[in-house]
Symmetry: C2
Subunit: 489 residues, 2 copies
């Protein structure tokens, strides 16, 4: 079939062709099928979209990618024919039947994901296969290699260390403090973080309330050269593009299969050249994993890291309730600053955990003798060195510490009775923070006046909600009344 090109000035990120619904019927193709678009000796495989009205029967609307590949222009004619699915579709089918894939096969799938040769539905099948069938350690290692191979990779000198939390605990923003302390001690910490997927904020969202977090790789080298560290968003660097794409499909159903979690974290650590890695695994009620799950993760992390010649430690921490006082980008930055500045109202639980994590990193890298890590970390913090380092990093990332503004609509939540706080549910508090506008509304969030195990009197403040719109505040209050987020005995 020959069709006339209509350019839509549309860069879809992959070769996409839009056909008139009549033309699609004639070709017997559906949305997400593929066709071969040919011009002269050139050809490109395009994913199909179908529209009524936008284009005529004899036309084909193509994305910029196709014009470029075929060296074609609007108005020219191309021929169109059916084509078969890429080989990786068969491999995904194989994995969905729980047949393990080898290195070549997993590399093929990951390559096709990065090159946008697979549709969202096909990637969803791949995620389902991992979710339902799991992966052997060997398969996870192949996956890691494939993710690293298809992305950019940093090369850094010095003792390159890193930390990572598997997430799920509201307010648990240790990273900026640990990075500041450890890089003050001479370690190189190229910290890349994610944005929030289901939580109130990711480290990238939090730092973004005071500095830029999106950089190119050359810009990143400059920041690290200047400060020995960084606090940036991983997504813009192209270090693990396959992983970014897979996570995007996982979040549709809120899935986070263990093999993909392991591969995602370790591929990113390898991509930034980390030689020493500390993994924080919060576990417990309303955390991401249970204790047996945490122990299993630890075993697998350690095994895989060993095979990749990375010195890695896992620490299991209490993830049954929020840590710190603020939940939401600006509120969390305020917590971090109060610890770095050592103000009296700083959240001591967050400080304690940050010092503990810093201590382990200082010891495992050999910067500090065994048994003295936490003590040295504390010195670096109380001396103001860590705060100075944090300011350096923020400045290098084009930021400053002024003008932190909380949402202008707020509501104090008071205790209905005297008692003791038995439980604060992480998942519910994260969800509530999102209703308030997190992470897009930087000033939105929840300030906890009290945390787990604290005593509280009737009518005393438990927490304050912040929002940037009255509407969202109202929605959050309505939602709060419906759920039991806090248990008071």
């Amino acid at each position: 079939m020959r069709l006339k090109i209509k350019s839509l000035k549309f860069a879809a990120g992959r070769p996409v062709a839009i056909l008139n619904n009549e033309t699609a019927k004639q070709l017997n193709v559906h949305v997400d099928d593929r066709i071969l678009v040919k011009k002269g000796k050139g050809s490109v495989v395009a994913v199909i979209d179908i529209a009524k009205g936008l284009i005529k029967k004899e036309e084909i609307a193509v994305s910029q990618e196709i014009l470029k590949d075929l060296k074609a222009k609007s108005g020219e004619r191309v021929s169109v024919e059916l084509t078969f699915h890429p080989e990786s579709v068969n491999l995904i089918h194989k994995k969905l039947n729980c047949i393990p894939l080898n290195e070549k096969e997993l590399t093929k799938i990951i390559k096709d994901i990065v090159e946008n040769a697979l549709t969202e539905a096909e990637i969803a099948y791949f995620v389902s296969s991992i979710y339902k069938c799991g992966m052997s350690i060997k398969e996870i290692e192949y996956l890691i290699k494939a993710i690293v191979k298809t992305g950019k990779r940093l090369r850094l000198r010095g003792k390159v260390a890193d930390k990572h939390s598997i997430g799920g605990v509201a307010g648990n923003r240790t990273t900026p403090i640990v990075v500041s302390i450890c890089s003050s001690a001479g370690l190189v910490i190229p910290k890349t973080s994610s944005r929030a997927i289901t939580s109130a904020a990711g480290t990238a969202d939090v730092i973004e309330s005071i500095a830029k977090v999106e950089f190119s790789v050359p810009q990143l080298y400059k920041i690290i050269k200047k400060t020995k560290a960084c606090l940036v968003w991983g997504g813009s660097l192209g270090l693990a593009p396959a992983d970014d794409k897979i996570i995007q499909i996982e979040r549709l159903l809120n899935l986070d299969p263990e093999p993909q979690l392991l591969a995602s974290i370790l591929a990113k650590k390898i991509a930034v050249d980390s030689k020493y890695v500390l993994i924080d695994i919060p576990y417990g009620k309303s955390a991401k994993v249970s204790k047996p799950g945490a122990l299993r993760l630890k075993r697998k992390f350690e095994k895989i890291a060993k095979d990749f010649k990375i010195k890695l430690k896992c620490i299991l921490t209490d993830g049954s309730h929020p840590i710190g006082k603020g939940i939401g980008p600006v509120l969390e930055i305020k917590d971090i600053l109060s610890i770095l500045k050592q103000t009296p109202e700083r959240p001591l639980d967050l400080e304690k955990k940050s010092l503990m994590l810093s201590g382990i990193i200082l010891e495992m890298t050999g910067k500090v003798k065994k048994g003295h890590g936490e003590e040295i970390a504390k010195k670096i913090l109380t001396s103001g060195k860590a705060f100075k380092k944090f300011q350096e990093i923020i400045k290098a990332q084009g930021g400053h510490l002024n003008s932190l503004r909380l949402g202008k609509f707020s509501k104090e939540i008071l205790s209905p009775r005297n008692g003791k706080i038995l439980e604060i549910d992480n998942k519910k508090i994260n969800f509530l923070a999102r209703v308030l506008g997190c992470p897009a509304d930087k000033g939105a969030g929840i300030y906890l006046h009290k945390n787990k195990n604290d005593k509280i009197k009737k009518q005393e403040k438990i927490m304050t909600f912040y929002a940037e719109s009255e509407d969202k505040l109202k929605q959050a209050i309505k939602f709060y009344k419906k759920i039991e987020m806090i248990k008071i005995k």
Copy 2:
């Protein structure tokens, strides 16, 4: 966030909003996420697409559905905010964990599929959940009810009978013959068929080479009133729109999970008001199912049909090799016509199977006494009544029997030695027919001069390939040389 509407004259089939990539980053949304688009008191949930260049940062390109729902025009401003996934996403997650769904839950998912509220990736997760976890008889029945409820439904008088083959056998085009014989005997047969998914041709593709197959429901009533039967494509009638959409996602990975197969077939039979149904289950090597699989399907078909008060029979047939001589739309019509016209070169295996199936239907509907079905069917066929009826149906569907043209490029395949044909692989022959251009190229396909168990001499013709382009013929020959499609001993 407030954005200016840019209309794309784009009817996407669901509310789709395209954002500039910078705007998407600011909102922290990705492709396939959802946003709430508001104007005044109206609001609509839209699925997001992201583009560079097509639209500006302060713009939002929206599909016609959104303009209509919001009563908005190009150039007007709308506000945009984050929203949560529809409830059915959580239900799909639940099913992916193999937790059974109840009637209300399955109805919710099916309704969202029909209303295009779920993305392709989310439907892929739903298909995965069925594929990996299976479904109880109860769940399949809920699924059937939901599919029927969300589609159109025929109401017909008389003894309404139907036949269906689960497919997979090349050339097995009994339907037009069975429909012609049984409606000649006074039964009402509102036969809707599918187009090919992975085979060379579906019944709809075959009939389309001589008549129209796409009709509206009122047009269909007229055809049935005139002829007591029809041979149309099910897809254009809107009888089971949810099923059509699910099949579209299944075909990406070539999946056909048993519960969905059962639900799909039975929902369509209920939708056309069939009271008597015969299911042909071909089994064996290179068929869709093995013998134990066929027996399991039979048990389930019978149980569910009973619950829906349908008289249903399953017949297990030999599906280990092709049936008939022609494979491909025009070639199969030629087989059918030769049987209806009783020409000497007609394929006797296809005739025999068609008579057997017709006989069973005539007996189960009580039209013919037990033990005499096949005999009466044969009389109807040899008397020319069935051919007359077939001509009536084709005429009522705007067709005629002239000008059946085979592809003008052909190649005879000769036997490399004397021997006996032990095996012809259905899957490979179907695939080869698709390489030749089936089902879009109506004249493409394979003519089998010999079939399983036939003796053959060296240099005698085994089969002839037909294609509408030289290129496809060459591709098919190349492919044929690489695979072992036929075993000769």
